[in-house]
C-alpha cells in the first residue's frame, strides 16, 4: 500500500509521490493517513543532496513545486529558499533529505566546497535548449572531482523538456556524456510540468541507499543549519543586512 513510495531497484520511473501535486493533495497527507496506526518513528536515514548547474537551467524549479500563486511572492524573491527537508519512503525506510539549491552561486568557484563535501547525492542540471549550459558540464565535473566525496551519487538532468521544440542538446549527446563518467545516471525532465521531477529524487535516493551499509543510519549531518559553512568551528560572521522582506 506504500507503493507510491516504492520503486523497483533500477527501474527508475513510474513512482510518483515525492513532492506531489497540489491539485491531487500532498503525498505527505496520504502518508499521514497510512502511518497513523504506528507511533512516530525517527528517520532511518538523513541524506544531503545538492543541485548544481549553470544559471537559468531550472535548479530552483526542480526543488520547488511550481506554483503561480505563491503567497508572499515578494518575500520569496528577496529572501529566497535556502534548503528544504523532505521525507520520502523507500524500501520500507524513512529517509529525510536535506536538499540544497545553489542558485545564485553559479560562478563555479563561488559555491563553497562545503556544499559538496557532505553531499551524498549531486544533481547536475543543464537546459536542453541552451548549448552553453551543456558545455559547462565538464567544469561542474571538475568541481565535483575536487570537492565531493567519491561515494556521491551523480545524476545528470536535462531540464526544460517542456521546451522540446527549442531543443539544442540531443538526448544522445547527454547520454554519451553521462556514460563516460562512472556511476553517473541521466534523465530528462521538466520542472515546469513536474515531469520526472519526483522520479529524479527517488532514483537518486535509491542509488544512495543501495550503496549504504545496511541498518547503519547516517549520523554525520549535524543539526545546525550552519553546518555547511566552510569552517564551522569559527563562529559565522553576521550576514550583511538584507532588505527587509518585500
Amino acid at each position: 500500500m506504500d507503493s507510491r513510495y516504492e520503486i523497483q531497484r533500477r527501474a527508475g520511473g513510474g513512482a510518483a509521490g515525492f513532492g506531489g501535486g497540489s491539485a491531487t493533495g500532498s503525498p505527505a497527507l496520504g502518508a499521514s493517513a497510512r502511518r497513523r496506526k504506528t507511533p512516530p518513528r525517527p528517520a532511518d536515514y538523513k541524506l544531503q543532496i545538492i543541485i548544481i548547474g549553470s544559471r537559468g537551467v531550472g535548479k530552483t524549479s526542480l526543488m520547488e513545486r511550481f506554483t503561480d500563486d505563491t503567497f508572499c511572492e515578494a518575500c520569496k524573491s528577496t529572501v529566497g529558499v535556502d534548503f528544504k527537508i523532505k521525507t520520502v519512503e523507500l524500501r520500507g525506510k524513512k529517509i529525510r533529505l536535506q536538499i540544497w539549491d545553489t542558485a545564485g552561486q553559479e560562478r563555479f568557484n563561488s559555491i563553497t566546497s562545503a556544499y559538496y563535501r557532505g553531499a551524498k547525492g549531486i544533481i547536475i542540471v543543464y537546459d536542453i535548449t541552451k548549448q552553453e549550459t551543456f558545455e559547462d558540464l565538464p567544469k561542474w565535473m571538475k568541481m565535483i572531482d575536487k570537492y565531493a566525496s567519491e561515494e556521491a551519487e551523480l545524476l545528470l538532468v536535462g531540464n526544460k523538456l517542456d521546451c522540446e521544440s527549442d531543443r539544442i542538446v540531443t538526448r544522445q549527446q547527454a547520454e554519451r556524456f553521462a556514460s563516460r563518467i562512472s556511476g553517473m545516471r541521466f534523465c530528462e525532465a521538466s520542472a515546469k510540468d513536474n515531469f520526472n521531477v519526483d522520479e529524479i529524487f527517488l532514483k537518486l535516493v535509491d542509488d544512495i541507499l543501495s550503496k549504504m551499509p545496511l541498518e547503519v543510519p547516517s549520523r554525520e549531518l549535524s543539526n545546525s543549519v550552519l553546518s555547511l559553512q566552510p569552517e564551522p568551528e569559527v563562529p559565522p560572521e553576521l550576514p550583511p543586512p538584507r532588505m527587509r522582506c518585500c
Partner: protein, 132 residues
Amino acid sequence: MDSNQSSRSEGSAEQSSLVSEDGKNIKSVVCQRCGSKVLCAGTAVLTEKELFLPSMRKKNNINQSDGTLDGDTLTAHWLVDDMYTFENVGFTKDVGKVKYLICADCEIGPIGWHSLDDKKSFYVALDRVNHE
C-alpha cells in the same frame, strides 16, 4: 485588517484539543494550503514565545502608508530541537539572524521561525498551520 488569522487559538479550548498531557501535539501538523505534512503527531512540544512572523498574504505584506512589514506577533508554537524531526519543511535564507520556515511543497509561509543563535530550537506557529 484581515491579515490576522481569524482564529486566535492561543489559550483557547481549541488549543487544548491539540495538546497531549505531556505537552506534545496530538495531531499531525500540516500546511494550511496544500496539506503537506510538516510534523508527525507526538513529535513537537507546545511552547510559548513571542515571535513576529511576516504576513502570509503578499498583498498585505507592506503597509502602504508607512512601509512597515505587516505580520503577526504569535505566541503559541510547536517546538522541535532537531530539524530532522520535520517531515517536510523549507528554510528561507537568512534574514538577519533568523531563518523563516515555510511549507516545503507550496512554499506558503512563514509558518515558523528559527534563530541562528539557537541551533536547537525550531518553532512552528499554531496559527499558521492546520492540525489533523
